[in-house]
Assembly symmetry: C2
Homo-oligomer: 431 residues x 2
């Protein structure tokens, strides 16, 4: 197939005719597939079944600090869990608080606290006329939902291949003291799969924000979620907490992580990592908010993994299951879309997503057509604040949940829809 | 021993001398006991060991709705957990949302949401000049900590034997639209052990608050926490959600509960129950806040209990362990303090606490003297907003954690300190 842009109207009409037939055929197959969310597959969940046995009634529930993990107590997490997650998120053990089952909830809570109590003594944001967040795009819809829920104005920041446009970030942050944060997924980002370069992280650490309560919201969701075991095929991210300290900005970052995509989504453990000054401020709230998080689940995680090496070995098993899934989609995209030259996509070495950019103005049509054919994708626009992709171009592909076989079918459906929507757009554009 | 009030100065001095000797003897024993918090004893925790085995790797993790509880999904709880907790809290299954491990956290969250987003469309409380809560006293320090954290002004409401002073509640609530809530522990209250009478609950349901966003914060923490199995020795509380609906106030109450003192504190499941209109409003937040709570722990609870009857049977085992603990304290109080006529205390048939009222101005001294002798009690004042007991009289006794043997010692220490502090006060008062 030739590049669509080189074709004349008749050639396009012919292709449209073929694609429509293929699309009708697909619709008749009664496909029912979901690539909308970064949901681990059943095979991945099976990897962690040992965790449910890691605590049994004939085991001790007393942790190494002598604490009976079945009872009340321990606000910021048992030392076993702190050690495990601080290694995972690459911070000193004193710079972490272990939370409940959801890092999203920790991020929500962090913004909610800032609204009512400010950040380390700053004016509560609810008392300010305007609060803004920078949002590298495309990004994670659930981040944007949090800031939207609190009426925080979101400003799009374009993503380059090595991270957000730092010229824009530096300029905005230094000029506008109503900018209080930036959402980042610095490694194997959602949806781009991009990892921030050393230069980008160093520029982050050296920001000179006008607002003292500006924080980098560093959602390290995919920190150990490599697709390949070989180190030269893995991305490396500089640790920002230490980098901020070096740069004289020790308090400027909140790091978040969880085991949601390590053990069981919804039954993992989450954490925040930050400077001690930040954590002290957070604990003033935490002690009012709860008596403590689920220590049995913390102990269960520790007993299952033993140590961080155990966790890394476990992640290799995830990678082995995810690689063929990513491959199934990427191979199909290559085969069916490359020559037509109507779309571009990322080829990540970690994380949970492939980011697909189609012809401007076509993303919504593609997603709708896929849906009509039985394939559910993330809503078009979801990767942008307010659900508004200004180019109507970006589609997030989440290949983790279906089987590789299903993914081949799904990717074919997607490719047919991309081509058909593009041809339609090109033909309409010519009118 | 005669009533202290009938004694003259010389007689009091003699008693003081004896008590001081006894107190010095006690201090020499090196006692180390904690009656400060409502913490279940180790024997109680052992009752739930079957729960950790209720999910094992050879079990199915698919719930009756066909949901794999290991994966993401289900915002408001699996149906098994909803059924269990809705029976526990006596509400229809459609009037409940299952949360994470802590009802305190749900209450915090409920107030926090009202601060930033109001209640069912009302003005966010952070935009108001003044927000007030009514606080029946003595009450639960962690309730008061939440409202204090958000700068909400707290007004003491005296507790009668059948519940809060409803004349005062009705008057204040109907006159002042800055009063947005009242903290209630309606059954086996903390610390009084009192259960609200039918008449009190009916008056609650029929309140005519000036503020549309006024809610009753009904913390039903001890709803099935009887000390006796015989029904005629149990308190009965009218269900307030239905009562509010009957009275034309369907949206006026938030009910909270958890299994913290049913299974494992910190590893239980919690819930809010309210009208559908309230729950719809809450879900708009919840969907931003989290992808879902720990469904495996929800399933674990369901599988362990089977149904609500299983839970009630389980509570009888708790009661059997708690009864001798309460008895150990109450017997000692009776024997050592009754004749002196210097204190009064509650004799609850459920819950976790005994409320002790000593001579005005003596509570702080008693708690300090106990502490110096190795017995930790809840801080004096803790049962009042801002930690300020205007009479310096109330002491909360939490007899659940130590063994009955230890409790006998602890109660003796307490009685000696009460008597000594009282004699000291009486002698000083005479000067």
């Amino acid at each position: 197939m030739a590049a669509f842009q080189t074709l004349n109207r008749d050639e396009l009409l012919k292709i449209k005719d073929e694609l429509e037939k293929e699309y009708e055929k697909i619709k008749g197959l009664g496909i029912k597939l979901d690539m909308s969310r970064g949901k681990p597959g059943k095979d991945q969940l099976d990897l962690s079944m040992g965790m449910v046995d890691a605590l049994a009634s004939d085991h001790s529930f007393v942790g190494e600090q002598g604490i009976d993990c079945r009872n009340y107590g321990v606000l910021d997490g048992i030392v076993e869990a702190k050690r495990l997650l601080s290694e995972m998120i690459e911070c000193p053990i004193d710079n972490i608080i272990i939370y409940g089952n959801s890092s999203l909830n920790v991020m929500y809570d962090t913004v909610a606290r800032s609204m009512t109590h400010g950040v380390m003594g700053s004016t509560p944001w609810c008392k300010l006329d305007k609060v803004k967040f920078l949002c590298p795009v495309p990004g994670y819809d659930r981040h944007f939902a949090i800031t939207e829920f609190f009426g925080i104005e979101m400003i799009n920041i374009p993503m380059n291949e090595d991270g957000p446009d730092m010229n824009m970030v530096e300029k905005l942050v230094s000029e506008d003291d109503s900018i209080k944060g930036i959402w980042c997924i610095p490694k194997y980002g959602n949806p781009t799969g991009i990892t921030y370069s050393d230069a980008v992280v160093k520029r982050f650490a050296r920001l000179k924000p006008a607002a003292k309560d500006f924080r980098i919201y560093w959602d390290n969701a995919y920190t150990i979620h490599h697709l390949y075991d070989e180190e030269d095929k893995q991305d490396h991210l500089i640790e920002i907490l230490a980098e901020c300290e070096k740069a004289g900005n020790p308090d400027m970052v909140f790091k978040f992580c969880s085991t949601s995509k390590v053990t069981f989504p919804g039954s993992g453990i989450a954490a925040i990592s930050a400077s001690k000054a930040n954590l002290e401020f957070i604990k003033k709230q935490l002690t009012v908010q709860t008596i403590g998080h689920d220590k049995l689940n913390q102990l269960r995680h520790y007993r299952f993994f033993g140590n961080f090496d155990g966790m890394k070995e476990h992640m290799k098993k995830h990678a082995a299951l995810l690689r063929p899934k990513f491959a199934a989609v990427l191979t199909t995209l290559d085969r069916e879309l490359k020559d037509a030259d109507i779309a571009s996509w990322t080829n990540p070495v970690g994380g949970y997503f492939i980011s697909l950019n189609v012809h401007n103005g076509c993303a919504k049509d593609v997603v709708q057509m896929c849906k009509d054919a039985g394939l559910v994708l993330t809503n078009a626009g979801a990767t942008y604040p307010y659900g508004k992709d200004p180019y109507d171009s970006n589609i997030r592909i989440a290949p983790s949940f279906p089987t590789p076989e299903e993914l081949k079918d799904a990717a074919h459906v997607l490719c047919v829809c991309v081509k058909l929507a593009t041809v339609n757009k090109m033909l309409t554009g010519e009118k």
